[in-house]
Point group: C2
Chain length 564, copies 2
Amino acid sequence: MRQSKFFMPTLKEVPADAEAVSHQLMLRGGYVRQVTAGVYSYLPLANLVLTKISNIVREEMAKIDAPEMLMPIFLPASLWQESGRYESYGPNLFKLVDRHERPSILGPTHEETFTEIVAEELRSYKKMPLTLYQIQTKFRDENRPRFGLLRGREFIMLDAYSFAANEEQLDVQYQEVGQAFQNVFDRVGLKTMAIIADAGAMGGSDSTEYQAPAAVGEDTIAYTAGGYAANIEMAKSIDSLEVTTEEPKEIEKVHTPGIKTITALAEFMAVPNTKIVKSVLYRADDKLVLVLIRGDKQINEVKLTNIIDANELHVATDAEVVELTGIMPGGIGPVNATFADMVIADETIEHLTNFVVGANETDYQLANVNLGRDFFVDQFYDVKLAEEGELDPIGHEPLKFTRGIEIGHIFKLGTRYTKDFHANFLDENGKEQPVIMGSYGIGISRLLSAIIEQNYTERGIAWPKTVAPFEVHLIQMKMNDADQTKVANDLYQSLSDKYDVLYDERNERAGVKFADADLVGAPVRVIIGKKASEGIIEVKHPGEQDSTEVKLTELENYINSEIG
Amino acid sequence: MRQSKFFMPTLKEVPADAEAVSHQLMLRGGYVRQVTAGVYSYLPLANLVLTKISNIVREEMAKIDAPEMLMPIFLPASLWQESGRYESYGPNLFKLVDRHERPSILGPTHEETFTEIVAEELRSYKKMPLTLYQIQTKFRDENRPRFGLLRGREFIMLDAYSFAANEEQLDVQYQEVGQAFQNVFDRVGLKTMAIIADAGAMGGSDSTEYQAPAAVGEDTIAYTAGGYAANIEMAKSIDSLEVTTEEPKEIEKVHTPGIKTITALAEFMAVPNTKIVKSVLYRADDKLVLVLIRGDKQINEVKLTNIIDANELHVATDAEVVELTGIMPGGIGPVNATFADMVIADETIEHLTNFVVGANETDYQLANVNLGRDFFVDQFYDVKLAEEGELDPIGHEPLKFTRGIEIGHIFKLGTRYTKDFHANFLDENGKEQPVIMGSYGIGISRLLSAIIEQNYTERGIAWPKTVAPFEVHLIQMKMNDADQTKVANDLYQSLSDKYDVLYDERNERAGVKFADADLVGAPVRVIIGKKASEGIIEVKHPGEQDSTEVKLTELENYINSEIG
């Protein structure tokens, strides 16, 4: 491509609200432009990278014999009413009506669409295993779209769906797609972690997330050197506190006027915060849930949501607590907690004795409270946030935390959707069974950002050679120099047969050309300058300070060794 | 691809409402499934063809140095308010609001989006000429979606936009893109006609439509052996009637009770229908327009819309005529037509004398009416439908009619959009000018149907080799025959390096395999049967009745000669 014909509208200034480095670089380099909040135009540079990523995905999915399809974006509401998600999906679902007032949606994911299509066909176990996929534009009406392509409202995804006649087939499919995904991430040049993830939202069981570690990531990953890795949302937390046995003392009511925090209460009562049980009231769907946890721990709302299988959950506001219990927040507790529909106790309180809880009276606490005597708990759960430094639940090594960008996710769905769509088959014994599904996704447009977040330089981008918009960037320094023009043209001709070449033949200053080249980020930059007449040109890696002289005769070898 | 891993859900029965052959074949062959009216899932076979078509398009657009981009589907209403199309586009525009109640649309075309993006960048004549394009999913809420992919509500288009500093550059771009389009149509195996088209709806001037002649086509093309070709909507009609000069006679009012048609009136008045002037009342936006045309001719509403530059136009119903004029239809006419805001007269009435018109009184006509004496017309237009057999306006050869599918369209837009978006540049003299645009489109998903409409056989599809989902279809007759298995496996291995091969290794009867192969429509079908052990297999073209024996050693030469 001749650069004068290319369209790469660079910016000197980036909008102040572009926080992520990848977002800033893609705006500066003319990769993307925002059309409306969370909705972007992919300009030629971004489109080239997206195409290369998609082609790598296609190659890896072909290796596992998964045919590609393309489903529609515009879907009838009835399809999602059948699965119940038309109501339960929440405000991220774009809803609209057509000219005949028929309710419709823009697909945020396609479990229903795929399930409905295969339901008619997979009538016998002989038709399975089957894995299908698409690369398609999806819509989620995020409340706060941000970080450029990392959290958009219109985005490109690969979504794959597997159909199996038994759990063994599903296991194989889950493993195969997982390996294909890992191959994709390796090939596009991303460092990734495969971690334990929350499968709850998809209604499935097993689930693995692929995370690209990066400072801008919205997820926290808890991991150890020994190989444990989980999303903080799902990281099991084992209690490491040594419990000393004490004789139960007599319960005592204490006036604690104006005390609002655990720290203040611990000081006032002269006890460690590990002897206080926090009581937090949640509204979960139409129920009031009282959660009990040791004073030094925090509640993990994802775990809580999964334990009580809630669609929607939030902590009761101070005003709600007063309205629902008649008690000021801080005063509520588990003893005679008649206002609660359900009590969930964290494992950390199971072996406590003589602890402090709210007295269910404003500004009063109870001291020396004991389980089994003063109140009862049927079951204890892990409902707490894991903390950096605590021991992981498997290898018992100290947890480290890092930020990550979720770039892929694989789920065992089971029969969550096939039951709704009556996708049944006859097994070997002629018995009707529901098809067993898996669901798999890669955020294709998000990969673009993630790759930049892991591969930016001081002045631009250093694209991995597999996804670089151009592999070779030829830069002619002086357009009115006949020697340079001849060398540049010859190189453009010969290299274009083998590589994606961008040839900067614009009448621009060297500074402009180099600054643009930093943003194009080609793995090999070839500068045709003063010594062209002597058969010498310069080469440069993105991010390197200085270029290196190379003889023209040696250039092809050099390029082959770099990107061949 | 092994066919047992492929997904091709064939149907024995097709829905009765699938009228078009292409629609029937794509349903029967498992190419597509309808998700809701005019919205289809592309299953693997269709996706393979779409990918091949798109890649051909990309190659041809690369030849004219047009970079590819990808614009969003979801657009803010404000973008279309700026061009005025948010109001004027009509009910085909999908409108919706997001969670913050911001009005938005789904893009049916992208003039606004491209113009806004380039407006910031094309500030100097040096940045032009520039041509950009995308292959993207578009939405039009058609009132009556039909014929499968031929008229859908969600469909895939190539849309290209050119930006020029002067008319000469636009002329070159228009010609270049037109040639690229023609190359695409030739390469995908379509017979096409480039015809004069209506540019009105896009607000432009010059316009050419690419039509694929096919019986199911919704357009009528008027053409001659000498090379004239126009959409009937735009085909200029020249009057071939010899006019005899007569002395004007005295006007006469005639009672014509119950006469409702031109034919009946001609008989009653004992005059030829060429001596009657039809008066038809139209509502055009907020105006009443009376159209006058000779009794033997029909009104062309596209021409009429363009003449009066109306957004919306329809013939007044009988009830509306009575309400607006107080006269029963048939009685209205041009003499003292005070009810009409505007009178449009066809060229056919310019030289008539002593003709019949409605008397503006129910059940009365005026005979011996004459122009310039009884009523006045400022200007005469060509507002009539051309008819088969009449002479074309250029070579004066008799017009033939054929049906066509519109598969592409190129427009000279001029400054229709760049003025709205203040897309101005400084010319060589430092003077600010609006950028001059062109707009170009190919219906990618529609091509799929059009190719089938021109290439179906008695039993299936005969795909052109360039776009066939598979180039070679290997069919093993008996799966438990070791010789056949060895030959088939060897061929599958060796041919897959060079061609897209589908290998039917299913345990199915010959009849099932052949019926499916007719629907796959690969240009080369290789049947591995009884004589495999002797090194003999059979080959067959789609649509041929019988297969031909070929020696295994000669197969590669045969395939090369067919699709190499």
